[in-house]
Amino acid sequence: MRPVLIRFSSAGVQIVAMSLTGLPLLFVVALGTVAVAAGTVLAWRRRLRPRLLVRPLGILLTEALLVTTIGLLVNRSELFYPTWADLFPPPAATAAVTVRVAALDGWLGTRDSGTFTWRPDGWAGWHLAAAPTVVVPAGYLGDPHRRFSVVVVLGAGGTGTAAGADETVVVYARTTAATPAAVLTEDLPAALSRDLRVSGRRWALVSPTAASALAGQAAAAPGRYPAIALVRDGPITRPVVPEGVTVNVLDGLPAALAWAAGQTPPPLAEASAPAGRLPVQPAHHPSHPAPADPSHPAPANPGGNRGPGQPGN
């Protein structure tokens, strides 16, 4: 039962609910406090029967209205509960979100091996030495409700195995000196997100010394590659990276793959969706990847949006 305001206008009589933080409700309750307090004082000396009931009820009602007035004042100032619905919320239901099937999931089910040469649309323009090799972990198909982290191996190296990187998709990207960093931060993640159930953020790079500059450039993009494993293959050139990006030098590809995979999340089911949200700006919540649509490539980062004002967005 919410207090209402009756409005008289040329259109007739309107009955509208009083706002929880509005002045009308505050005035009504404050006036009520004064009136009940005055009434209690007046009734105090009168021979009203039963006096033992009228007096204490007057006190208690005054107290209750006083506390309500103060509560409304504080709430009007701090907006703890801006509306009646916030004060008496309906039971919140968290929507379950399921991971959509990726384009290559069905095809992978027909094969014995999880290793394949990957030729996504547009790869020829990525300035690679050859089409990338993708290694899908053994548990990928048996875990159809989860997204997998990705380790991208730069340079020509690699044997096409994922030894060391358990539960992680490994991409041997065969980058060259001509490969732009945007391939690693935008094109490849967008294409891989269409073809496989991969995560939206926090992948890792494995790089030979020769590709460390490219790795550093890729790590400067938001949220994608916060970790770089440099494989020791001669004098080490540490890439210049922003604070927050971890660079580790490791001996051998298996050790580098293992360390890089450890920097990423394990396979995860889709995050819970927030209840009753209504974005005030164009924003994709992590749990709502864009639907697969061949004419509109899925965003590079289905796990979230970048805030407005960020470069490359």
Binding site: R202, A219, V241, E243, L268, A271, L278, H285, G304, R306
Partner: protein, 358 residues
């Protein structure tokens, strides 16, 4: 009967009603000065009992004083309630430990995920959960039901088994630290970013590197999560702010509330770290919403920002409870996995992450 219990609130309410009913028959008792003394006592009793009822209700909401000791000696160190959930296969455990450092000694609640005890070699990711002001970590456990939510998210595979720390943020409930180092006051920032992690690494099997450490907080704790993440990217990789602010809203003592401790100033004037920030705020939560929008607008590479704006809710526990699960899930996508250190020291991924729940 704890000061935040329903029993205490009902007792105070009963006393308020009793005082009102006693006032009437006592009003004309006695003669002369004695009569006035009785009347003054009756009025005082009415006001005191009413105040007690209101304070008990407010304390139940924000849990500033979860125990009588915390109320009487103003030092949370000796005052942590000990309510431990029994461990189970699908449920985590909450333990209490004391953390000392930077001149501060305070208790801390720790959520240990399902499987923690049976995987002593696994080093788990860690999230520090920060509370609002005034308040204590207790609302996380009692009002936001964090253990139930963590158990459910981990069991469903939406969240990685994670150790969650619930530290106190001020050694004196009357001092609002906003997780900063106050000039001439508590060094809360050092305590939270150095002493708490050191204690966790020493006494729990958790990840030692920043990839495995995240932050979450509501209200003032949301500011803390944003601020500590931006100021300590060598310690934390990700943070989630629920209805948080961009500034501490207090005086630090040297004016840095307008510069180094102002997240918007930092984003404009300091190198931006490569960390991930999650900002959630109800659309009708005026001041935090303005701050959240300003933070999202000021963010630039390599900082990554994800936003969520529920339609309603306001600035209260129900709203944070609704925001909790998506925020914890997001943190799992922004932190490294549980690992088993290989012989020789280097950390390698755990052979099988004890997530499952399928």
């Amino acid at each position: 009967m704890a000061p935040d219990s329903l029993g205490t609130e009902l007792l105070a309410l009963a006393a308020t009603v009793a005082a009102a009913f006693l006032a009437s028959p006592l009003w004309n008792r006695g003669r002369g000065l004695r009569r006035y003394a009785i009347r003054a006592a009756a009025v005082t009793a009415c006001l005191l009992t009413l105040t007690a009822t209101v304070l008990a209700a407010v304390n139940r909401e924000i849990e500033t004083y979860p125990t009588w000791a915390s109320l009487l000696i103003s030092d949370p160190a000796a005052a942590a309630p000990t309510e431990h959930a029994p461990p189970g296969a699908e449920t985590g455990t909450v333990i209490t430990m004391t953390v000392s450092g930077s001149g501060i000694t305070m208790p801390m609640y720790v959520y240990l995920p399902p499987g923690y005890d049976s995987h002593p070699d696994t080093r788990y990711p860690v999230i520090e959960a920060l509370h609002g002001y005034p308040g204590s970590p207790v609302p996380w456990l009692k009002r936001l039901h964090v253990t139930t939510i963590l158990d459910a998210e981990i069991s469903a595979g939406r969240m990685v088994p994670t150790v969650v720390l619930f530290p106190y943020q001020t050694p004196d409930t009357a001092i609002d630290t906003e997780c900063t180092n106050l000039v001439g006051g508590p060094q809360a920032e050092t305590y939270l970013t150095t002493d708490v992690p050191a204690a966790a690494r020493a006494r729990l099997h958790v990840r030692g590197d920043a990839a495995g450490w995240g932050l979450i907080g509501y209200s003032a704790g949301g500011y803390c999560a944003t601020d500590l993440l931006l100021r300590h990217p060598g310690q934390y990789a990700a943070g989630a702010s629920l209805s948080g602010y961009a500034t501490p809203g207090i005086k630090i003592g040297d004016g840095t509330e307008n510069t180094e401790y102002n997240a918007l100033w930092r984003l404009a004037h300091r190198p931006v770290p490569a960390v991930a920030l999650y900002l959630a705020c109800a659309r009708n939560d005026r001041e935090p919403l303005a701050d959240t929008l300003a933070l999202a607008a000021a963010a630039r590479a390599p900082l990554s920002v994800t936003t969520s704006f529920p339609a309603g809710g306001g600035h209260n526990a129900q709203t944070w409870q609704a925001m909790e699960a998506p925020a914890f899930d997001w943190l799992s996508t922004a932190l490294g996995r549980p690992v088993v250190p290989a012989t020789g020291g280097a950390e390698e991924p755990a052979v099988k992450v004890p997530a499952a729940g399928r």
